[in-house]
Structures are given as C-alpha cells and as structure tokens.
Amino acid sequence: MYNILLGGAAGDGIETMSAIFEKMLKQSGCHLFTIRDFMSRVRGGHNFTQIRFGNQPFHAHRDTLNGIFAIDETTYLEHQSRLSYDGFILCDESLAIDDFRAIKCPLKKTAANLGNPKVINSVATGALLKLFDMPLDQAADILKASLRDDLVEVNLSAIKMGYDLLNATHHLSPVETSEQLLLSGNTAIGLGAVAAGIRFYSAYPMSPSTSLLDFFNAQSSAMAIAVEQAEDEIAAINMAIGAAYAGATAMTGTSGGGFSLMVEALGFAGIAEIPLVAVDVQRPGPATGFPTRTEQSDLKFVISASQGEFPRMVIALRDHADCFYQTARSLALAKKYQLPVILLSDQYLADSTTTVPLFDVNKIVHFDQPGPMVPATDDLPYQRYALTENGISPLAIPGKSPALVRVDSDEHDPWGQITESATIRNQMVNKRQNKLNALKEELIEPEFWGSHQCQSLLVGFGSTSGAIKEAIDILNQNENNYGALIFGDIYPLPTERLRHFAAQVVDIINVEQNATGQLASLIREEALINCDHSILKYDGRQLSVDDILNGIKNLKGGF
C-alpha cells in the first residue's frame, strides 16, 4: 500500500491530474482512497490531493506519505515532515529542493518540447505511473473520457514521455477492480437519490454541497429530475416541500449556513407532515467558517433546528456506500413516516473519492413505498391528517383522485383546516410524536467494530468511521481490548448496543470532529451514559487513523 500527495497552487491543475491518475490506478487493479484539501480560492495558495492506494480496500486517509509530487517548493515545505525516510519527492529539476529523497526530472522541458507547457502534470503522471510499475494501456481511453478532444493527443504523448523518464522502483500486485466504482461521497448521494426515484432537487450553491447540485443538473434530463437553483435556501426548501406535496420525490441540499436559513421550513415539513429529505454537507462553522474544510459540528443543531416540537430523523453518513444506500433509505422513510429526514454528511466524505463495490439497485427496491392512496369516493371529504393508531395518516396526492388535499403550517384538524381547539391540538401533537414509536422499531443500531470482549469502547458517528475502524484494528494487534460503535442512524438515537457495551467496558471514548463532543452530549441525554474521555479535532482537517492512535496513546498514558 502507498500513500502519495500531489500538491500545487489553485489553478495548477492538481485536481484534474489527480482525477486522471486515480482512474489509471483503479484500471490498473488498485483500490484507493483520495482526500482533497483545497483553499477557498480559484488561483494561488496551496492545494493538494492525497491518494492512498494498494490491493486492499481503504476507508480513510493516513498521514505518513510514501511520495510527493511537488509542483512548487511550498508543497515540499508543507508536507516533507510527513514523508517517510525512504519516500520520494518528484519535482521539476528547476525547483530549489535540497533533499536526498528528491527525484528531479526535466518535467518542464519535456512539456515545452511538446509545445504545451501546461502538460507538465501529464509528464509527471507518466513518471509516477512508471515509478509504481503501472501499465499505460488504459491511458488513452481515460484521457478521452476526461479531457477536451483537442487535448487528448498531447497529454497522451506527455504521459508516455514522462513514463520514459524514470525506472520502476515500487511494485504492487493488481487485484480485480472491474466491479468497483470510483466516486465521491456527493456523487454517491446523488446516485442513491436517483435510484430511489428523485424527481425534484432544489438548492442554492454552497460548499461543500455544491457538487450535489452539479450532479443533479447534469442528470436532469436523462433521469427526469427537475433541478432548481433557487434564489436562496429558504426558497430551496419551500420548493422541495411544494414538490413533495404534489407527489414528487423531493430533496434539498446545503451546508450549515444554508441549513440555518431552512430552519423554519423544516418545522413546516414537520407539522404539515411532508416527506422531505434535507442533506447537510457540513463544514466548519459558525457563519462562513471554513468553506472548503470539514467538521461534524451541526449534529446538535439539526437535531433541534426549528421552533416547536415535531418528529424528525437524522442519519449520519459514514462512508460512500452509506451515501448511496442511506440516501435511498432516507427518501423511503420520509415517505413512510411523512416527516423530514436530515442526512448529515461533511466535506471529507463529500469530496473524497474511493473505490467502492458496485451499488446494487435491487438492494434498495424494498425501500420503495406503496404509491399514494386513492381514497374511496365515500371516504370524502378526505382527511389528510386522519387520527390513526400509529400516527401515520393515509397520504393522498392532489389531482390524483376526487380527494381534496389540504396541508397547513398552522395547527389543523384532520381535514387540514386551521384550528385553535385545545383538544385537537393535543390529538395532533400526540399523533405526530406517535410516528416515532414505529420509526424507532426500525432504527439501525450503530455498527460495532473490534473485539467483543473489549474493555475500551470508542464511539463516533458519520465520516470518521473508516479511521476509527482502522485505528481499532491496529490497537487490537497489541491488546485485543478495543471496540467501537459507529452511529449512522443518530436521531432518534438507537441505544440498545450502546447500553450493552457500556455495561461491559471500563471506559468510553468519544471520537468526534468537533470541539464540544456533541455525540457524547447526545448519548448522555438519551441514554444517561457518560463518555469518560474525548478525542476531538476541529481544525478543519479530518481526524486520521494516526490522530486517533495518538489520542489513545495520550489518554492511556494519563490513566
């Protein structure tokens, strides 16, 4: 397994180079996991992607590097301390990098000879492929799929010339990857929504959710999705609500700032019992925060967002497969229970790309809900909010039957007419809350990872999943003493497994990408269980396996 970094300034083309290089690695039989670290600017600064690859699947990044491709000296200076002793720095011969690990090549000269200085990255790609002893046979196809037609030829030549600059020094035995996808978390969310029959997506651009809007725009015609770039996030969520009322499977997406604007309408979906999915792709806040970086600090916000009380569900997405399957499930649950479901993702998951087993559409068919009911003519006038045992009222769609469908943001009676009756108010609040009883029955308990005899339990949620699992595996190599619970369904909080392990272990450590330990606080509130220690990170850079291992080392030293 190898871990390499490609770095340069914004505008240097690192992003494109990385996407092409990743595809080549995958086609050559590698699994990979790539994180993207970029600044909120279009030119200058320092951006990098970090690609971990090898012949086993990866679910997280690591800190120690085996190689760096440095477009500039900054890249070297920023990252050389993480480069292993036997690692390499591939760079142009002109860079002032004085390091015995440097492999200086005539990258610029080669590009210049080809008549296009911009193909320097392709020269470097060729050199890297050679270093890792990868074949070139897929290069032409991948370039064709990735670049403008007129750029394919020259970049292919550049890759070939780069390939001839060096000798192979690293070797990997290839594995079968033809049943693997290579995609980002946001793409996986988009595909999950498509598979679940999304017909309407509305949003206002905001990093790191924007690529979701771009995905749906690109698929709008082919996949029959109306995509609205709304005038603001308030319009975006109110549009999704309107579309859902009229029978379209609808979703909206944003980051924390936009979610803040959606809050009133979230409660509207709650009281009006509209099936709605809202994705919050988190970034560090508050306010504008760190636009292009990562955090898990909206948990307690989305759980309590909006005035008043109403049932909702929150699902934290843990990895790329979750992005697909849980998005589809969220749309189905929103319909089944007629309530808002919030998907919590974050920049790390949204922008990282990885190989993941081919998504199986058949696995989500059982999430399909029966179509909207058509009331018998003698059931009229139709009661949109009929009082039922489990709180779920049969849902009719306007225009599909003689039933007149009335929904209301005011408190209302079973027909959806505004009311101020104390009795009906109690009935309606109880009815809505009742829906949670059935929902709680089908919550998915947190995934357990590690030794069932563990004495130390890590708890986490969402995108730190991969790092936590890998850290547990490493810790258990020495003392088989560690376990982890990683929450996907997080609100309502499933507590059965948590109670089971809490009774057994000596200590519980919450691992979170935020400053205040929001999961620990939720666990305390919902299960009366205290976490004994915390490993927290909130610098906008994702917790790595190494951060967790170091955190444990520090804690255990202090025991």
Partner: protein
C-alpha cells in the same frame, strides 16, 4: 357528469372586509373553469388574505409567511396538470417574500398570483406594509411608510413579468375578468388587488379606492412595455386598473419539453436499467 362545484366555508374575516368580495369572485371564476376542484391547488402564505384557500373547496396549501411562491412554483413543476393559484397578502408577497417575488417572475412557472393588497399588515393588526402610503405629516396615519412605498407592478415589469394587472375588490366584474385572464395566461401572472381593510387601514378605504380606480381604456396597448411602465407609475388621484402588460413568452415548462410532456413529472419513472447504466459509468 356535472363538474363538482367550488363552494366556500365560514371565514374568520371582519365584517365588511374586502376579502369577502375576492373570495366570492374567485369562487365564481373557478366555477366557470372546466377544471374540477381536485385539479386546482390554492396556495397561501400566512396573513388574512392567505386564509383564502382555507375557505374554498379545492386542494389547499397553507405554507409559511412569505414563502408561498416557491412552494406554488414547485407544485406546478411536480404536476403540470394542476392549476395553481396563490392568494396572499401584500406583506407576505412583497415584504417577507420579496426575494421570491423577484425570482419567481424570472422563473416564469405557469402559476397565478393574486395579491390582496390592503396596503397594511392586517393579521398582525395594523403595521405598515411595503405598499402603505408614504408618511405625510398632514395625515395622521397610524401605518405609513417612512421609507419609499414599494411599487409592485413597476417592479414586476422591471423583473420581466409577462402578465401584470391591477384590480379592485369593489368592482367584482372587473376583478372576475382579471382573474380569469390571469389564470388563462401561460406563465407567471400577477394581479395586485386593491382590498380595503376596514379594521386597520383608515386611509385607503373602500371610498378612497372607489373614487380613484379607473379602468384602462382601449387606447392602452398591453403589449407596449413602456406604456405599461407609465401606467404602473400612476398611483394617486387616479389608479389605473386592468391588464397593464401581457406578453407571450415561453414558460418554465416550455423550455424543458423533455421533463414537461403529457406525464406529470411526479409520475415519471426512470427504468432500472438506465439507473444501473448510470451507476456503472463510474466503474
């Protein structure tokens, strides 16, 4: 078979309120349409005017204060077969919902927007709305605008609206004509309806409007935007009512024939193999 009729319920409005005439006229206009009640969605925000949809037997969507337009547009996008009509107040439409007002004009979804413009916040009991008259030291108005008065028709024209009209709740015949024409218009249609609020607006009363409103005559060419702009700027001793501007422009749906054909978007189905092909394109 007879089409089921649109009928009305008891209301929570003050006796003498201009909203009654609007409700009655709208019900009459709806009954003239070929569309049955279950194919009509009446949308509102929050306010006295916004309650209109509560009082007519049709599908009803009472949304949030200021947010009726985006919801209405999306209802129409989801099911192009529905007739979608918004009834809501001046505060709701031009104040809280000002941004949506602008951008739904640009969106040009085929919905109809009836603003019950009482030049006041009725439900919250008498605060100035964007369309309240400017403050005048001689008038002892409780509710007036310290800042400039908002001119909804002028703004609508500037934003590119393709149907811009004004009417008066006190002239039911005129109002019915405006409503029918607006519903018929393909695309976003705005009718600003002068509506006396007997409880809180003591300036812009029934008599005040009655004296001033003047139907546009035949010389007004509703396809002439400059003439429409001139008429939109008239609001004083005479207040022109009628269709100030109307133009045939492609609607939101016209521009996306692949999404808006004879099958409502909400009912469309993408075959599983197409979805699988898309997924496999990431291999």
């Amino acid at each position: 078979m007879n089409k089921p009729a649109f009928t009305t319920y008891d209301t929570a409005w003050c006796p003498g309120c201009g909203n009654y005439a609007i409700l009655e006229t709208l019900t009459g206009v709806l009954n003239q349409l070929a569309t049955p009640p279950h194919q009509v969605v009446l949308v509102g925000g929050i306010g006295q005017a916004a309650k209109t949809n509560q009082y007519i037997t049709a599908n009803g969507f009472s949304g949030l204060h200021g947010r009726s337009l985006p919801a209405a547009a999306a209802i129409k996008i989801a099911n192009n077969d529905l007739t979608v009509i918004v009834n809501t107040g001046d505060g709701d439409s031009y104040g809280e919902g000002g941004n949506h007002f602008l951008h739904n004009i640009r969106r040009n979804v085929d919905i109809t927007h009836f603003v019950h413009d009482n030049q006041i916040y009725g439900l919250t009991k008498g605060q100035p709305s964007p369309t309240s008259d400017p403050c005048d030291p001689l008038h002892k108005a409780a509710a007036c605008n310290m800042g400039a008065t908002f001119n909804p028709l002028l703004v609508a024209l500037a934003a590119g609206a393709t149907f811009v009209a004004r009417s008066f709740s006190g002239d039911k015949k005129h109002l019915a004509d405006m409503m029918a024409a607006a519903i018929k218009h393909p695309g976003y249609a705005l009718v600003d309806i002068l509506q006396p609020c007997v409880s809180f607006n003591k300036i812009n009363t029934f008599a005040y409007y009655k004296q001033r409103v003047k139907p546009l005559d035949d010389r007004h060419d509703p396809t002439n935007k400059l003439a429409a702009i001139e008429k939109a700027m008239e609001f004083g001793d005479t207040i022109p009512i009628g269709i100030l501007y109307q133009q045939a422009t492609p609607t939101y749906a016209d521009k996306r024939p692949e999404l808006f054909d004879n099958i409502p978007l909400a009912d469309k189905h993408v075959p599983q193999n197409a979805i699988e092909t898309l997924i496999k394109s990431y291999i």
